[in-house]
Symmetry: D2
Subunit: 353 residues, 4 copies
Amino acid sequence: MTQARRHHDPEVKAFASDNYAGVHPEILEALALANGGHQIAYGDDVYTEALQEVFHRHFGPAAEVWPVFNGTGANVVGLRAMTSPWEAVVCAESAHINTDEGGAPEQSAGLKLMSVPTPDGKLTPELIDRQAWGFGDEHRAQPRVVSISQSTELGTLYTPAEITAVAAHCHELGMLLHLDGSRLINAAAALDVPLRALTTDAGVDVLSFGGTKSGLMFGEAIVVLEPSAVRGLIYLRKSSMQLASKMRFVSVQFEALLAGDLWLRNARNGNAMAARLAAAVRDVPGVTVTRAVEANAVFAVLPPEVAERLRKRFRFYTWNEATGEVRWMTAFDTSEADVDAFAAAIAEEMAGR
Amino acid sequence: MTQARRHHDPEVKAFASDNYAGVHPEILEALALANGGHQIAYGDDVYTEALQEVFHRHFGPAAEVWPVFNGTGANVVGLRAMTSPWEAVVCAESAHINTDEGGAPEQSAGLKLMSVPTPDGKLTPELIDRQAWGFGDEHRAQPRVVSISQSTELGTLYTPAEITAVAAHCHELGMLLHLDGSRLINAAAALDVPLRALTTDAGVDVLSFGGTKSGLMFGEAIVVLEPSAVRGLIYLRKSSMQLASKMRFVSVQFEALLAGDLWLRNARNGNAMAARLAAAVRDVPGVTVTRAVEANAVFAVLPPEVAERLRKRFRFYTWNEATGEVRWMTAFDTSEADVDAFAAAIAEEMAGR
Amino acid sequence: MTQARRHHDPEVKAFASDNYAGVHPEILEALALANGGHQIAYGDDVYTEALQEVFHRHFGPAAEVWPVFNGTGANVVGLRAMTSPWEAVVCAESAHINTDEGGAPEQSAGLKLMSVPTPDGKLTPELIDRQAWGFGDEHRAQPRVVSISQSTELGTLYTPAEITAVAAHCHELGMLLHLDGSRLINAAAALDVPLRALTTDAGVDVLSFGGTKSGLMFGEAIVVLEPSAVRGLIYLRKSSMQLASKMRFVSVQFEALLAGDLWLRNARNGNAMAARLAAAVRDVPGVTVTRAVEANAVFAVLPPEVAERLRKRFRFYTWNEATGEVRWMTAFDTSEADVDAFAAAIAEEMAGR
Amino acid sequence: MTQARRHHDPEVKAFASDNYAGVHPEILEALALANGGHQIAYGDDVYTEALQEVFHRHFGPAAEVWPVFNGTGANVVGLRAMTSPWEAVVCAESAHINTDEGGAPEQSAGLKLMSVPTPDGKLTPELIDRQAWGFGDEHRAQPRVVSISQSTELGTLYTPAEITAVAAHCHELGMLLHLDGSRLINAAAALDVPLRALTTDAGVDVLSFGGTKSGLMFGEAIVVLEPSAVRGLIYLRKSSMQLASKMRFVSVQFEALLAGDLWLRNARNGNAMAARLAAAVRDVPGVTVTRAVEANAVFAVLPPEVAERLRKRFRFYTWNEATGEVRWMTAFDTSEADVDAFAAAIAEEMAGR
């Protein structure tokens, strides 16, 4: 019997981030399944081999899947494999790679990011053109990749047509399209389209496919949709510290997520709970939902002192100190009861202000 | 029920590497224990908090533990936190950081390694002096850290006195001592000393404490024994792509390993199985054990064509193409039956050559 | 007699950049003076030693001068010495380090730049605050330095009071102030203040002092005004490929520039010629001077086809393809006759459109 | 008249390094020739254009010349253009890039160096094979370039046949050959062969051609002999801070050096003076010349206290603290009188020990 102890109350939920959640029970079950005996380390195991076929079903037969540890790793390794050292990445100013990865792209990979302010976290051909110029000019880091997020950091979604237009624009410019899909499943579920409609079919070249926020214990996947878009990925994964030795345990989690419909169930739950929350607070006087609720995030403004009191009962983050805007995230394991309790707490704290 | 399938035969073992093994059942149990409910992401969870005390028991009250994903990550982040960008790391030519991390220290962190050939993988004050010079000379990357491995890549061990002498020498030179302890548990078990005798008490400043090879699913720990030896570790862990969002699942594994005696049981088993194997093959004509068997590795020379045939039955690696030397590693889950079957196979293949 | 040949017509001038100019004759004379015999390489020569005192006269007794090769080098080495690898630099979106150094800060030094759009190339405390936040948050590269340019890339100037306010704001935030002074002499001459009024006295910590655009053959100087603001500069200059072996020839040029009033004569000429040009074209119908002419740059809009024809007679750059805005720079060697000829050409081409 | 002053005695010479020397008068003359008027910055000037043809005469019609500031820059930019971020460079342990560039290759370019001990500073196919292995193994930085020095840091020379053999071996392995030729002119002069015999004709892919040690004020040249061996050089030169704005002044110096026979005169003088010095001290009792004197360096052992006294009269460096070996370098401007005075001083100090 393990000598570790349980230190937490598994009944307590938060609305802070989908990575506050634990592991979906089916994923945990899969981990046990893959245990026992010896498997070749560093990805030559049968689980990683089997995973290729699972991804082919979702992303087409040309897709190559490269499991890594986390989202920052997936983004940095993917982008590094798409660029030469003198090339740059165009992204939204609000992109996770620009704001929330501690400078990893620049500090660990020497990647210059060229960011563009956006109204809603989404790039368009016009916005891309604000940075995608100066080709051939040695004084300018050479724009090579556009990186978009789906769903975005602001909880908004690109339609398949919008991604297709962005991809076409990139390719016309001789550039490549990268998609940070740490919450891709939420986008596909919300739009009711298969994963490939937002990626392979839309012209995305390389994808960071999110596992951790989708219900895994750990693990993300770099999915190469256009093999000619990358160079040296196998080496860069290792030298970027993203090569898991016991990789079977990353791969089997993705199999559990994607072999059947677990991804869709998880995503739909998160999305539905966000919608339920938004609906529940819309009528609370003094609370304003500030952005379209398209996936599993609700952005709202409420009085800071109310937010402060509320936070003692349910954790969540302030998104913008200046405006008092907060972000409420739901996850695969958020229940209706969780949402209702949280909505009730919001109403109570607002009433008592 | 999970939609993943079992793809492998859990009865099959190898002698290739301790990271071919899976997860110790007590670790798996601990992972389930930590599941459920929400926990603050990125290390502010109660499991990571509790882990500090567990490490204090082994490494003293000043120790700080920083969970990361893998060994390359632990080494690179630890070394980067110990150095400024103009400083260098002295290590054995055979050190894992020099030979087996795909150039990660140089390529992802800009670290210059100054390597020294050694007879047995071990550095001494005299060997360190071959590179530890030129202080204050701007034309020379400034030697700042010595990094040693325990057990070494060649399966050899430093005694506590040897580490103490190396540490004292480093400190006299104004340098710091880093220990790559991906197999530290095997060393402590073999020498029958507590973990701190090889680290804190010997003067080591920063330790990479190995989890994966000790029976975890994934996870290593940077253990800072001398807090003044590091700067910016919290930021470097993030920007080096080594910050796990659901960190509770790394931490609880280490708790399971170190709260009781699991680490010692696992290490003793690996060591005993290596000794058993060495004993079993020593009398096989044509097989020569080439190095002292001090931990869980056996190095041997046997005819290449025999090695080739044998490898079809049990996987293992050739260590040195030129000499035909092979490496046989045992793990926490290697059984007496596994060893006996392998030894029998060796004898058979040798007989049939 | 040299076996090189003269390949150009020394009478031809342009309005493209102050680095199209050659070397001021007094600088060339100084280079000859420093020649002959042997001097210790890499900066231990008597010219570099003597230069310290020359800079003390302009920047105060605490100033330390570190000659380097070029402006990119001065900026990157200076900024790198002011930061740890997890720290970032806040700058104007139009800053030279952000737009015109080929990604050198990111690619060669791993520096993250956090840029802010500005109306006129100038940062203010309010604009700085748009990026200077998140201190202590491991997910955010840590803002450590603000870098401003004087004169700016848009030809505008900070007053001493404005720089003082920016510096005070930086220091309140625990940040440092870097000044890219590739055209600092033009700013000081235009504002009719000593160099120290814009740097030492205003609270600047580290300065890139421009030599090449001031009339040198090559060479810039990192001037450390606050010694506690930098670490490892001597090593970083070498490892950033900015350590000149025959450094006496960089140092003596700066002595020639700064020991007397050559810097002021050069700067005043550039500024006066820009003013003369602006005055001359202001009345040309169809030409609009678009920005305040405060130093040695004139920005203007004129019909693209006119610009195209004009460019065949005098080289200059288009600043903004979208608006047709062009930039005309004057230099230490631009003469009244040059300006008058250029202004006449502008008028002619406009008339003939 | 310049306001700089002469601070040194142009009669004093040293035997410390060829970069203690100043500028050859013909080079200085060339600099004046290129002055005056405006030229396009950053290498689009007529001097840099004309230089291509000058290099073609020496290195063949496919050669491309890229002027840079210094030797570290030439080496790092050249090597970076020859490699992808996951690739490594094999070099002699004593190579300048490994020992004397402050870690620039690793720290500024992320390049892993794989060094090999050599008896005489020279690599051979056999020595290269000690590091050139592991192709396709993601755990090993991928050996891509071999870098050799001619003349070597130990004053030894490769014959054309030796370089040819090394190049052939590299190419068979799918690797490239880089030559650090900071003293290539001394090698060619000593071997009495044209420059191309040691480079283009021998199979070298990329060359760092030394200017500063050959009598220039500053400036080196990356010479691409095999265009397919490099990628992105134009961008890497900029982002590595090696792009001179007033490049005409680098280029015209190389024209002065190479358009006629100045390079040969300079090299022959240095070599002859080294030979003269070696001959003069060979009979001094207690002084042992330790290495073959093949170019412009003399290595010798003499009693440390004598070296100490001697150094007060003529500067030179100790090469090896442990053995007391010193290095005496001659330069283009070392005269017979200088050598005779130095040799007499050696004899005097030895006699007086």
